[in-house]
């Protein structure tokens, strides 16, 4: 099955920039499968962009190996790079004085495509973006969202098997973001591409990603299929609903420390983790002591944001 074959494999990847005391990326090993969206998450400075740039060959690693569809990037750069399309974060990625059409043809030829095949592909992509009628307008005349969509189209013009999107929806409005999401889904599930995604929008990462790696201070904190990561956090996570407002605690040793408490109109929702049944009963005893009227106690469905924050704040820990 295509999904079982690693598309990108990195082993013990390390980057220490000249003059730096600590590595920006420290012995990171990852395997990214074809036909799946791989989210690379982490705070600013966690090392995501350095990893992305090493995969693209823009930054030379201090140690470790990168294999693209089995090809060693350092030894066979040309074949490895030919499989990639990349949209880098924070840059335009396009020539603003050229039209959308000219940009797509330029980047297509840069990747060895030409003639009818290139024209047909460029037309298909621009029609899909609903930009076909505006193809002869210079990119600088487009909105930010349209420019970003053309940048993604330019990245996939030569139909690469690996698409790297570094913060693809940064600064985009809801409609443009939705279109990018739709494209990412289509690229993986319909076309079998590997999409490597970095984003700070964790809801988007949760919705789109099949696998997720979380980085903190250059180290890998977790790397799992998304459902496994969420499942792990589901253990011990509870949502407790009580009527009205939760009375304030009378004691210092509050077992509800660390619980997220949200006041609603008629009820209060508590969300948190416990390490076993005894701890859960301890929480319930505390609520009874406060004379809170219980509505419901149920296992909570954690979201990626909860998992991410717990893992990053718990770092450094051994990789899960």
């Amino acid at each position: 099955m295509a999904a079982d074959r690693p598309s990108v494999e990195i082993a013990d990847l390390t980057k220490t920039y000249p003059g730096a005391r600590v590595p920006s990326v420290d012995r990171v090993s990852l395997s990214m499968a074809a036909g799946r969206v791989f989210a690379l998450l982490g705070a600013n400075g966690a090392g995501k962009t350095t990893i992305i740039k090493m995969i693209c060959g823009l930054v030379i690693p201090t140690a470790g190996t990168i294999r693209i569809a089995g090809e060693d990037l350092q030894r066979n750069r040309r074949h490895a790079i030919a499989r990639m399309g990349v949209v880098l974060e924070g840059t335009r990625n396009l020539y603003w004085r050229l039209t959308a059409w000219e940009n797509l043809l330029y980047f297509g030829r840069l990747r060895g495509w030409w003639g009818r095949r290139l024209h047909a592909r460029a037309e298909m992509l621009l029609r899909d973006l609903a930009l076909w009628d505006r193809r002869h307008q210079t990119v600088r005349q487009f909105s930010r969202g349209m420019q970003q969509q053309v940048a993604i189209a330019a990245a996939v013009i030569a139909d690469p098997s690996i698409v790297i999107l570094d913060e693809p929806t940064l600064g985009l409005d809801a409609e443009a973001t939705r279109r990018v999401r739709r494209w990412v889904t289509a690229m993986t599930h319909d076309q079998g591409k590997t999409v490597i995604l970095t984003t700070h929008q964790l809801d988007m990462a949760q919705e789109l990603s099949d696998d997720v790696a979380i980085m903190s201070r250059g180290r890998l904190v977790a790397c799992r299929p998304m459902h496994e990561l969420l499942e792990m956090s589901r253990v011990g996570a509870y949502r407790i609903r009580v009527k009205g407002t939760l009375p304030i605690a009378g004691s210092d040793a509050d077992v509800l420390n660390g619980w997220q408490v949200t006041d609603g109109d008629d009820e209060t929702v508590l969300l948190g983790h416990v390490t076993g049944d005894a701890a859960l009963y301890g929480v319930l005893d505390e609520l009874r002591r406060r004379r809170a009227s219980l509505i419901e106690v149920a296992p909570a469905e954690p979201d990626l944001e909860d998992v991410y924050l717990r893992l990053v704040h718990a770092a450094p820990v051994a990789a899960l």
Binding site: C56, G57, L58, L88, N93, R111
Partner: protein, 260 residues
């Protein structure tokens, strides 16, 4: 693949000339005025029709050097800023070919604009210059040295970023030191020796011998002028290329390829 990359870069370069045509026309006017101003000063208040053809040959070579340095310094810095430089590196085409293509695009656009400028000056001042085929190999060798030097500046831009001031300094130094305004044999010995190390000086001298003095190519070969020019340009081209590759690696080691 390689020819496609070269043609692609030339095509994009010409599209940019067209999109920035007002800017390029203004640049043409500026260079034309510069030539007229220099001619006026050199002629001590009048345009010396006898001296102008020789000066025009030097000026046109300097103009190529100016554009080569510009395309490798500020243009490269702009590409780093817009992210298109990194996109060029994320291509199966060897970066060497992409930058060679960009150098060729600069040659094509500079030839178009320089041709218009030189043609206009020849017509306006009634200059008599005959450019035969013999000038082509000499001009080609001169350009090789010029672009070798351009690659050195380009490398410095990749590795050290803001080097526009160095580029400007070199552009101005070339104008005054490479024999554009005054043949090098009029310089004091030490200055002539220094001028002869510059990338354009020997080329200008050889081109003048062919275009102005109507010397045959064979004579330049016999007296060693061509061989010296070929070696000089080859050294510049090789040194420029090696410098560029070293600086490119430096930028990739430091993760600063896309910085500006």
């Amino acid at each position: 693949m390689y020819l496609l990359v070269l043609a692609n870069e030339i095509h994009k370069g010409l599209l940019h000339v067209w999109r920035y045509r007002i800017n390029f026309l203004a640049q043409l006017a500026m260079f034309s005025f510069l030539f007229v101003g220099i001619g006026f000063l050199m002629g001590r208040g009048r345009m010396d029709a006898a001296a102008l053809p020789s000066m025009l040959v030097g000026f046109v070579v300097w103009y190529y050097a100016f554009m080569a340095i510009l395309s490798m310094s500020s243009a490269l810095a702009t590409e780093a800023q817009t992210g298109t430089l990194e996109q060029a590196y994320i291509s199966p085409a060897p970066p060497a070919w992409i930058f060679a293509g960009r150098a060729m695009a600069t040659i094509v656009s500079t030839t178009l604009m320089g041709g218009v400028m030189a043609g206009a000056l020849v017509l306006i001042f009634g200059l008599r210059i005959t450019v035969g085929l013999a000038a082509l190999p000499v001009f080609g060798m001169t350009l090789a040295g010029v672009f070798g030097f351009g690659f050195m500046i380009g490398g410095a831009t990749l590795a050290f970023k803001r080097v526009d001031a160095v580029g400007n300094l070199v552009q101005n130094m070339l104008l005054f030191m490479n024999g554009t305004l005054l043949p090098v044999d009029h310089f004091p010995g030490w200055m002539a020796a220094m001028a002869n190390t510059l990338p354009t000086t020997r080329g200008i001298s050889a081109l003048r011998a062919i275009v102005i003095d109507r010397q045959p190519l064979a004579r330049l070969w016999e007296d060693g002028t061509l061989a010296a020019l070929a070696v000089h340009s080859a050294v510049y081209l090789l040194a420029g290329w090696l410098t560029f590759r070293w600086c490119e690696r430096h930028a990739r080691q430091h993760g600063t390829l896309g910085h500006y």
